[in-house]
Amino acid sequence: MHKKFIFQNIRRFYYYIVSYILVCFLIFYIYKNIPNYENGLKLTLLSLSIDGVDASSDKLIEKIVNSDPNFLEKNIKSKYLRKKNETLLKELKNRNILSIYLIFQYRGRVFILLDSNNRDKIPKISIFIPEDMDMEYIHRAKESKKKQIYIQKDIDILGFTLVKPIVIEDSVKAFLVIDYTQKSYNSLVSLLTLSSKIIIIFLILIVILLSILILLFIKNAYKKNRLYINPKTGTFYRNYLSDNYEKIDFTNYYIALADIDFFKRINDIYGHKIGDKILNAIIIKIAEKIDGNDMFIQYGGEEFLFLIYKKNLSIKKFKIKLEEIRALVESLNIKVRGEKLKVTISIGAFIQTNLATSLQDAIQKADSALYESKHSGRNRISYFDISKRRIIYRERLKDLIEKNNLICFYQPIKNLKDFSTHHYEALFRLKDRDTLIYPNEILPELENSYFYSRISMKIIEYNVRLLSLDRNFKVSINLTSDDLVNESIINLLIKNRKVADRMLIEILETKNVDYTKLENSIQRLKPYGYKICIDDYGSGYSNLSHLLNLSIDYLKIDGSIIKNIYHDKKAHALILALSIFCKQNDIIIIAEFVENREILNTLKKFEIEYGQGYYFDKPKPYKEIKK
């Protein structure tokens, strides 16, 4: 059941193994073929290195031959001519060349006609017996009428030899032979030898590195295996889920949460030790019903999470499977201290996981169904089923958002001294033909989904357009703390920084706020002129940490506190404390829910600068405000 998941990154492991095999094969192949490649490269290198001499030798041959097809016969007959030509040969010599000589073939024998090393006053033609390799390349030069370069392997004092055919009237008359020293050859190829060794060493290092990676991978997998898998039952621990949360595509699974009924009693009666043994025995039995692609996770003490793979398993078969598990547990006869113990299990399942916003959301829905099972008598299975009507409604909302049916109404924030309008709070609605849909009908449906942040982006875009048209208009928009750690939203605000001085951001707190990230976002936006306000302070998730950890400019006190301010001592004291705190920290207070004159007067006594509420005006469309 779980073996598939031992290697988390099984693909990476395969890549390592394949790379390892390929590199080993490559090393073997290179090692075997290095002599061939070396030889070829050496000859290329030699050929390039003798370019200068090669070009000069062409000129030398021209001088010796002098366009005379009978030059050979003339040189044989004239020692003076040979003397003169030998002098020319000597001019071509350098420290890398051992000797330069001109040979010719006559009646199957080879003779040296001219020799740069000749010290005799009268140069003689001498018979010459080339080695077998020399003869081979002389023959090749004759056949191809092209120069040949070859490495001298058997003659210690020589490195390599150049044989150049002298062709006159398309016939090879003689050969110019240049013997290079061993030293010159060695210096040319030493770099090549070094580089081929470096390549081999490099490849070996890669093999070693890959070996280490593979070993580390296996070691890591083994460690994780021990961390993730219960060795007694073979099931996953909960930490497997939390570590691989993002990697699991929950929409591929049906999700079920199961809990052993009255297990606490078993622990109380028999002790935890026996309780654990009973638990393991139940788990092992249930595990037999779980297939290879499924996941069976010990979610809590006696709580299990099943992720049952959807492919090729219909809803009906899934329900049958759960029923089999329930029945299996019910049928167990567990022997404890000579007694037979019966246990039952309650299960909650969620089938339409494609409608869940996250794995956690899906588990929560299964948990709701489990709650249903527990409270309906236990030893049963319940299903969390999203109604079709609700599905259709959610899709309609998404459609309205995408088709730019989002509009804003504006409610003024007034200066409590002179009742001038400081700015307007933008409150969004969705226009559905002639009907307006309000946030309290929209947001719960789309909470934690991608569309939640889409709404925020639409609100920003809507107000940026408005502020670009009306340069005297100033608004505040509502964003959640999740929005402000969303890079797309931050980038959108930065992109539209030209309106920053007229757009106040009201942060609505959600649970699990990462203050560090939120403060970082605030610090990124403030330089552009954005002002920050904590919205609904005093309700929901808002707490003192906001005031202590965030660099805010405004604080909007929630209406639930303001509405009781003139008759509630606690609200009174809280507002007083807040106003002192904010004054000392240059934070401007805005009071919501200013419904009547009494509230207004009380707020004035606290010297609270701004207020918002139906006492001043209700939210209206922009066109109505401008009238």
Binding site: R107, I125, S126
Partner: protein
């Protein structure tokens, strides 16, 4: 100084002989026959002859061919160590020497025949006519 020179004199011949194609020399010398029989070689140059895997005699008298003789007065068939010596020493049937780093092995056809030696035809590239010892003789007919 004297010791250095002495050492040089001792080492050079050995070093010289390390450049020879010993395999080729062995092959050719082993193939020489006299009246179809194997022949024995002798040389005072122990450094050289020790490298050869050919039938060797203990002394000069019982040898058929002397390799690199020091004396010019030996009447037996000799193999000399230069083309010049091959030319000048009429008792020499052949020469072994280095030219351009290559091992040169030459036998004179007429001299081999006169002394009853024979060499397989496959080695004909190593056998020259007497006239080849003369510089211009081979090219008398060249136009």
């Amino acid at each position: 100084m004297r010791l250095k020179n002495l050492l040089l004199i001792m080492i050079i011949p050995v070093l010289g002989f390390t450049n020879f194609n010993i395999e080729k020399i062995n092959e050719l010398l082993s193939s020489i026959k006299k009246h179809e029989k194997s022949i024995y070689y002798f040389s005072n140059n122990r450094a050289f002859i020790s490298k050869l895997s050919i039938p060797k005699s203990r002394d000069l008298n019982s040898a058929d061919i002397i390799i690199f003789p020091k004396s010019k007065n030996i009447t037996k068939s000799v193999i000399v160590n230069s083309f010049e010596k091959l030319k000048s020493n009429k008792n020499s049937i052949g020469a072994i020497y280095l030219k351009k780093g290559r091992t040169q092995i030459l036998f004179v056809e007429e001299r081999l025949k006169a002394r009853g030696f024979s060499l397989s035809k496959k080695y004909k590239r190593y056998i020259i006519k007497e006239c080849y010892l003369n510089e211009f003789c081979p090219f008398n007919n060249i136009n």
